[in-house]
Symmetry: none
Subunit: 135 residues, 4 copies
């Protein structure tokens, strides 16, 4: 797996994991219907507890990014992924707001901020163009 955790971070491990799985979905590294490692396997790989992995998986199942089956294990949502509905946009605004405010307070311009966001967005959708050895 391509997961990298920072065990020292103040961000909970299960959230780091969930975030990176979503990023994997956004980038296409994880595609619809693709199986994910079992909680035990992934926990062992990452050197963390299986409950922590399970918590991340459950959260993503809850949001509709994953399906969890008895024998089959865990797979990326084979149907349509959750959409950017109003509830999500609301949450997004709430989370973005303090970041925009502090950027403004520190004198960062609209353009600079937007450019930074754009570069992140593109880097996520096309991860091979980042630090890779592509021509």
């Amino acid at each position: 797996m391509f997961i990298e955790l920072d065990l020292q971070s103040e961000v909970p491990i299960y959230k780091q994991l969930a975030d990176q799985l979503i990023e994997g979905i956004a980038s296409g590294k994880l595609s619809s219907g693709q199986p994910l490692p079992s909680v035990r396997t992934l926990a062992a790989d990452l050197g963390i507890n299986l409950h922590t992995v399970n918590k991340a998986y459950q959260a993503l199942k809850q949001e509709g990014f994953l399906e969890i089956h008895r024998k089959q294990g865990v797979i990326v949502q084979p149907g349509s992924l959750p959409s950017a509905d109003e509830a999500f946009r609301e949450r997004l605004r709430r989370d973005l707001r303090p970041l925009a405010a502090e950027s403004a307070a520190r004198g960062m311009s609209e353009d600079e901020l937007q450019e930074l966001l754009l570069s992140l967005y593109r880097q996520i959708q096309n991860p091979s163009s980042q630090g890779g050895t592509s021509p």
Copy 2:
């Protein structure tokens, strides 16, 4: 004060407070050198714990947005405000990243996301245009 807290929110109260003070600075509602209420006064006004207000003030002092003097009390940074240095941009990227990723995974386009951020940024810098009483 213009502070509005949501005691039900999962966002810690001290962070909501700090965020709104920063937003006050970004919008110009709080200007350089302007005195802020004492910890006691503000805590009483908002109906929250002394420690909570103090924690917010200390965090903002730490970042360079406030100065705290024994006698004078608390004032908005009279010199130059903290800048958007590389450390801040690094933190900003780290916080923005999972938001950009989830937006992409949910099929939100670059443009939609940027527009949403832009509207927030402008709303913060010019709060009177939002639900205000301007003509």
Copy 3:
């Protein structure tokens, strides 16, 4: 067979199967003494494990809905079907209780709840009236 399984469901497959066989009996699609497919055949038809079909058959035999003979194979109870005795009503109450409670807590009236149950009951007893080709 008229069985339809949802392999994504959180309801165990053997239970879905047993439930639908009971529904077949309730609707008359399966009548007393009628032979059912062998464990092997049904498992192949449904694309599921032998053990799973067997578990459903055994459970229904246990409750008295089926008889299982070595040679004859599996048949719907040729004698009298199990009755709604006190043990069943007890189980029924235990299962119905949390559903009634949540309905009440969510503000659903007696009448609404009863009507919903009634419509289900009738739909089960007369499945042709549901999406069928009757005039």
Copy 4:
């Protein structure tokens, strides 16, 4: 508290607990805004693990029946309770269906089944009329 758990039951403890809390809300024994015991206290009272209590609380928070605060602890949803929307009715039908089917298969009439459900509903909404000493 009025909670009674059956540790031998096949129904998970956290679900029994959640169900009974919902029943408490439906009956009015728990009213809007009322504080609930802390996870530790309730776990000790019931002789179960605090994580089990927490799991029940989290599930009810997720569904909108409870709010969980930092210091205040856990309270019954002070605003409006979740409504019987289409998603709930869908789930209700799915859960009711096998019960209706087995009732029918066992020869229970529409009326008997409805009466049983009605008596449960009323007993939940007015628990004092059940085994109590009221006039």
